[in-house]
Symmetry: C3
Subunit: 682 residues, 3 copies
């Protein structure tokens, strides 16, 4: 990561307020382009993401180029004080380029896809790669020195097409085989053993026999997923190199969705700052609390990728995305509350998809700041402009830390390993487990960073390892290092199943974690029906009285650890359900079953206590989001009420309004959808 | 439309009673063919649809022809007084013809389909087109002068295979490109602007780049649907020309299903009369009322296509279709009641699929008048024969008008535009909205014609425009003409979204309708969860007290109109929900929300009052179908009870039994499933 | 069938206790292979199924062979007294063989499948067939004389890939055409008539036009299913011939699943003994009773295929299969109870999939006796070893008869015919009907054999014919023979619909069965909604008072039979619902409707009484499984409680414990999941 984040327009606002802006759609209507620039200033916009889908406009043919219109856009926006995050246009290539068949993906049956949608290219195509490198380089050379340039936005939402959009052309297959050859040091026997390909007689006699279409080898399927992920990384590197040939401005790419399309940690390590597109499903029902918690989870993912530093909300919808089952309007204030929640979670800005909705094509109904050429004096525009004014007042927050004492391991390799492996389908996926654990901290106002299994864990007082089924090389050592540093570490029974090739760990579960946990190999795991639960006998108050196991019950053998809860029923009555083991300066915990959320929250609160973690407020009403951000010498407290009913929140004395500088009462009265940002000296 | 409908057998019955008859299946069993003719006479059949799937029998090889068996069928039926609707056999080509690959469709991945099913041809194949034209011409030349010939039945149920049956061969793709070139006057930039193809960088640099497989451009998807629809029209024209080379007898094609496969209005304009295949899902449950209303809706569609004139029920099932989830038998009397309901809705006949079920192949379980070679002394046969006798007595109804004071616009281009556009998926499709509005009139015994957006609207006192999202060229002018003629016109908030290319209307919704409605551009539209509703404040009794909005709430701006209901809740409390605007000699109404059916029925009843519309009876019991048909000097009143329980219906004095000539009481006692046809001088 | 079943290791246990064993996975870990052999002996294993997926290990290249490792496996197991069921490896070919494109299947669109999964070969490929024959022959030559060889296990679970795994290569299509040509005696007109292909103009002008992809001809679809089934039979014959070239040891193939992939009767006639892989879905809920009944149903299927003789449970899971929705552990004792239930149902052994789970590949989570290289001192291992000891004590049961006085016809041709025919989709499939009827006998402890329509029926006192829609050639005669022999024969209304080409029977339902039943052709069949039922008027106590018809109501005409129940409602009130007809020395019964299970059980109990059938115990508590097996001079009574709650079962005096020789009380107290085997002189 570079230190230059967030990129700012010198002398103006610091907190970014921006959005995707696709002016090439309106080149035939210059009066709209003029209006855009004027209204951006009025809305307090400081940035626009330009060029995301401009390839066909910039390069209408193999040998023809047109930058004049983009020059004019730069000039118009600069004149209004709006900076530019310039995108590389690789997400959608022009149609003339797709006429070369090698640019289009091949399906697994050998037929070629037609051009269409986005990310519909073969990433190994030399023709495509050369074309991307050339246009990126030309953009970098032309705009590197432009004063409006804030930074670079590589491509757009990589990997969205991954599930049904992988290329099976001979070149890609050969690339996959070469990738495997390197991974296994040219030792085909090693691959056969690692994948146990002798089962079902699938042993490979030659590297050229390895094709990704055999869904009956878990190791193969995991490898194919990783190769496809590495292709994303490879394209990011290709584009980064092209940009860097002429420009040193900071680089990001906008991440999105469930983040299981590719290894986001690997890509993040190539970027100067990370950014995310967030579209929570808000419909005014009680389920909104879950959507808000999920958005906060992705904030934590970004902090994890950024090593705890700020990041950027690159896309959000000021109204309603067209993809939701119901396009229910966000109620007045809700957009502000949700946006400030991301700032509370570490985003040093709020950006939109998109500034002005296109008239046709796709996404014409997707909520935007402006809708086509309809009148602009709308509620949505006014709320956006008011938020712009608020963000301008929050310049002091820029760069502030989100102190995260908790690290939750959420590793996409475990997600992939579980997905390719049969069995235990009814139990939650790793990311769902991570989200459940995160929510317990979210509701107490505690920042918890989501980190992958390749991350250092020693910066956390409490480390949670939920559903980390696949043990990455070195992961056990990183757990041990956290324990050595004095952390509390909680491991659950869906962790520690597979080695790095999705094979069952040697010697039985939880493999190399057993020693750290003071356990022997687990004997077997019971999986309960959804109408079943098993009572627990608890010791020491780590779980509430009356706690039940749900989901699964691991049958562990103690080897040094002590039991703090045990099963009170079934044929395994008396066997341990929760164990504790001192290791190094820290303590390791093992939870053999799943818990309902209140019991889990109780356990995590006790573990946080044990780790010396204190929440920002002693009491937070249900549904209210509270977070702190900290600058040297100054604290900011975000208190947000993204629900219709009013609440009272005791914040204690000494706070003043970060947006208005008035002193604030010790108890806040927050109307429905109201949000406050408080501040005081640290 | 020709004036020759319905085609009749001179000197015998006038109301058609017929059915599909596929004797080529039984050529090896002449005794069955003899029995068929005899039993047709006994069942009061006056028509048979012959030849629908006879191509292989008529032309067993490229150069071999066999009309002798069909000559014999003509002779047999003529001898029994049964006329023939002669079908062209294009719906299923013989297998020898499919050996030529160009005749078979190409999938979008470039692979060829195998022959099978029906309508599995490439409609641009020169080989196929020449073969169709030749067999049609030969049939026309041979039978044009035959006294049993009633008319022509082109192909069968066009478009049923459309959803997964489109051809992507290079010739079809080139045809599509040429069609676009003509549509856009050879101006590719115009196409790019109309489709806003710059979004996602999908601008076309060459017509040859336009392929239908890109699902990310709404305009493209709509155009492809239209091109596929125009191919149907093109085949109809091809076959019509071949027939007309030798025969002037009236021509139809049997429409079916939800009528969204192709533009039925465009095809209807080529025909002499329209016909429909109707298979309501009747299972004896309370849901039957919905099925009966839906059947009546399609009657209204046929009247709309026929400009208010009679049409023909071309297929119906005297027992149970094999496609229903449960093959529950129609109870005694039910077939008669449902059949007479179609006559009440303007059909001058009742026809079946099919006369005798085939022994194997497909549809062998589909209810027919006769089942294979099983005994013929069945309940179904007896009921069919009794209906035949009734129809013979209803000759006076033939040609009678169905006076329809209400026109409901139901336009397939809006259906397609909604389908290709994201957003608002939870809200009802245009045809569903039209059906909901139609049912309010159906239950009051009022004929309401379903007309497309290309139809003249000045013949209606009340025009309803529900969900007409796409504004066809001239549609606003046709609304204005209806207003000028003094009509009441109701427009809803799902109308007026798109121009003719599925792009958002310029200047904001409802675009060119705004002025007619006295409204400015709508600001935004709220979509409610299914568990939400918004109370309305009502004025003037146009809605019942206590009415709530459901589904969506449009946030309108008045510009001349007056508000007759307004939202009483949410952040838009006080904004108008129902408006009225005097325009020309008429009045335009705008409904910004959806209503539950009782409230909608109340509003439509009030609007009908305002339009001077009077229902045939003041009070109709729930579930009873009442309709009038009118001849010069004579009225017919159909009173049908398609439900198991008995009802009383007050019809007033002066009616006699149209089937038996007895005078009828002022209050009818109708048993379950009983149907009466009454008459009196006009 | 050979008389040599079950194959036994001379001088040791007689009841087989074995399992799939895939040691080629562990060739690099000889210490595990040594442990395997030692632990097999400790677990009382007498057999291992070896070689199932060993092709790549045995023949790593076209011209390289490696039998040394398999020789060592034979030696290791022989040393521990474990016999070998040697598998042919055809279920999964080595990848080098799949490099020849002809070995891989072609999809219906003409594209080739990639290698992967199992059974992914084209069965007509000469290259593949030669390779199978060669490796089978080499195995037979090498191991025919080995003392550890118990018998042959051909391939593995044929047909599992059938649904989406059929080959459409030109050679297969030509093979299908040739098969049809032989079936119809080279008479294409006969085929056209039989399939009524004139419907939809699908008449064939040439055999070469017949392709399987036309889903609109029921006869064609049935024929394609049969051809695919015959391909399985053909491969079995190919492999049998290769084995028999050198070995006379008994041959089986392991059947599995719903047994509708191919004609299992045809394959069984090629085998020396039959075997089945059984994985009931046991999750501790009340639904377990249904799973236990289903397992018992498949026991009955095996007895039917074996002509009433013993068979072998070839695969079962000692823990939980990974394919279940929830991998809930089997509770202690449950594995023993379920295993002994199969022995009670005629299996002379208990075998597992698998001995040791593989580390990766596929099925790594599938419960096995040992899990990878985890510790082996597990509950599962102990329970397997205890069962091994029990089986050793049950040597006297080997070969004992399962006296089955009831035959239920369950014919896959009817399953296929129903599947390819439209209509009546809501009514149960033939196998579901057979299972429902079987369960009534299962719960009374009566062995009922499931036999196909090609089987002799004269060995049964009671024959049930449920849903036998397709009448195989000679089936009516076999019914008549059973009646002539004095049987009670019950036919239901979903029987007797189709001839052998899936065409409707001539003259109306139930065609040739009508005379045997004393009925005329049925007039029509009502199908009820799931919320409907029709009261019956009953006579003679054959049905309980208050019985209702559900599902369907056939409207029959009596022609000699007498009515014992009639419909009491609907328009067909008074028409017969249950009829009886004396025919020959027996009695035929026709049930025109479906019944709820208690009423059906009542009817079947009365029919069993009429047939002189006596259950083994007068009273069996709900959920308890009771069965008898009989040796000359000795009876064995299995009393099994596969449910959590304890029960008491009155067995009467005179029994002793077959496992411990103690005398047993007249009333057994069975704990949850407990199982007892009793014996006494006959």
């Amino acid at each position: 990561m570079a230190t230059s984040f967030p990129p700012v327009v010198p002398g103006r606002f610091q907190m970014l307020h921006g959005g995707d802006y696709n002016p090439e759609q309106w080149r035939h209507r210059p009066e709209l382009l003029d209006e855009d620039a004027r209204l951006m200033r009025r809305a307090g916009m400081t940035a626009a993401s330009v060029g995301i889908f401009s390839w066909a406009a910039l390069q209408p043919g193999p040998d023809s180029w047109d930058f004049a219109w983009l020059d004019a856009v730069f000039a118009r926006l600069q004149a209004q004080g709006v900076g530019i995050l310039l995108a590389t246009p690789s997400a959608a290539r022009p149609l003339w380029l797709a006429e070369d068949a090698e640019v289009r993906r091949m399906r697994s049956d050998g037929t070629r896809e037609d051009p269409g949608g986005r990310h519909s290219f073969c990433a190994t195509s030399p023709r495509w790669r050369a074309a991307v490198a050339e246009i990126d380089r030309r953009l970098a050379e032309r705009y590197a020195g432009h004063p409006a340039l804030l930074g670079w936005h590589i491509s757009n939402e990589f990997g969205g097409a991954a599930e049904n959009g992988r290329c099976h052309c001979p070149r890609c297959i050969a690339g996959f085989q070469g990738w495997l050859r390197r991974r296994f040091g040219d030792d085909l026997d090693a691959l056969n053993r690692a994948w146990n390909s002798a089962f079902w007689s699938h042993s490979y006699q030659d590297w050229a026999q390895i094709r990704p279409c055999d869904r009956s080898n878990d190791g193969l399927m995991l490898a194919w997923q990783r190769w496809c992920s590495d292709l994303v990384l490879d394209v990011v590197r290709l584009e980064k190199a092209a940009i860097r040939s002429a420009s040193a401005a900071p680089i990001t790419t906008n991440m999105h969705g469930p983040m299981d399309f590719y290894d986001h940690g690997a890509v993040a390590r190539e970027l100067d700052f990370v950014s995310y597109d967030c579209y929570p499903d808000i419909d005014g029902s009680p389920r909104d609390a879950e959507a808000v918690a999920a958005a906060s989870f992705y904030d934590g993912c970004m902090r994890g990728l950024a090593g705890g530093r700020p990041w950027l909300l690159m896309e959000s919808c000021p109204s309603q995305p067209q993809y939701k089952p119901r396009m229910r309007l966000k109620r007045p204030g809700m957009h502000r509350a949700l946006s400030l929640a991301h700032v509370a979670g570490g985003s040093d800005g709020v950006c939109y998809f998109q500034w002005r909705a296109g008239s046709n094509g796709h996404e014409k109904h997707h909520g935007a700041v402006l809708m086509q050429d309809a009148p602009t004096d709308t509620r949505v525009f006014r709320e956006v402009a008011e938020l712009g004014a608020d963000l301008a007042r929050l310049g002091g927050v820029v760069g502030a830390a989100c102190p995260a004492p908790v690290g939750i391991v959420c590793d996409v390799h475990s997600t992939w390993a579980r997905r390719v492996s049969g069995g235990f389908q009814g139990e939650p996926a790793p990311a769902e487990l991570a989200m459940t654990h995160h929510r317990c901290f979210h509701e107490r106002g505690i920042h918890a960073d989501l980190v992958d299994a390749d991350s250092d864990l020693t910066r956390f007082a409490l480390v949670v390892v939920p559903g980390v089924a696949l043990l990455r090389p070195g992961f056990a050592a990183r757990i041990e290092a956290a324990l050595a540093a004095g952390a509390q570490v909680l491991v659950d029974a869906l962790s520690g199943w597979y080695d790095d090739e999705a094979a069952i760990v040697a010697g039985g579960r939880p493999g190399p974690l057993a020693g750290l946990l003071g356990l022997g190999a687990s004997e077997e795991m019971d999986v309960l029906r959804t109408d079943e639960r098993v009572a627990l006998t608890v010791t020491g108050g780590w779980l509430p009285a009356g706690t039940h196991a749900i989901g699964h019950c691991d049958l562990m053998r103690l080897a040094g650890a002590e039991a703090l809860a045990s099963y009170a029923g079934e044929f395994y009555a008396g066997r341990p359900a929760l164990t504790r083991h001192r290791h190094g300066a820290g303590t390791s915990w093992y939870l053999g079953c799943r818990l309902e959320r209140p019991a889990l929250a109780h356990l995590l609160a006790r573990l946080a206590d044990a780790a010396g973690i204190r929440p920002p407020l002693p009491e937070i009403p249900a549904g209210v989001v509270v977070r702190e951000r900290i600058q040297p010498g100054r604290r900011y407290l975000f208190v947000l009420n993204p629900q219709p009913q009013a609440v009272q929140v005791g914040v204690g004395p000494g706070w003043s309004d970060a947006l208005g500088e008035a002193a604030m009462p010790a108890t806040l009265d927050l109307a429905g959808h109201q949000a406050q940002v408080l501040t005081r000296p640290a």
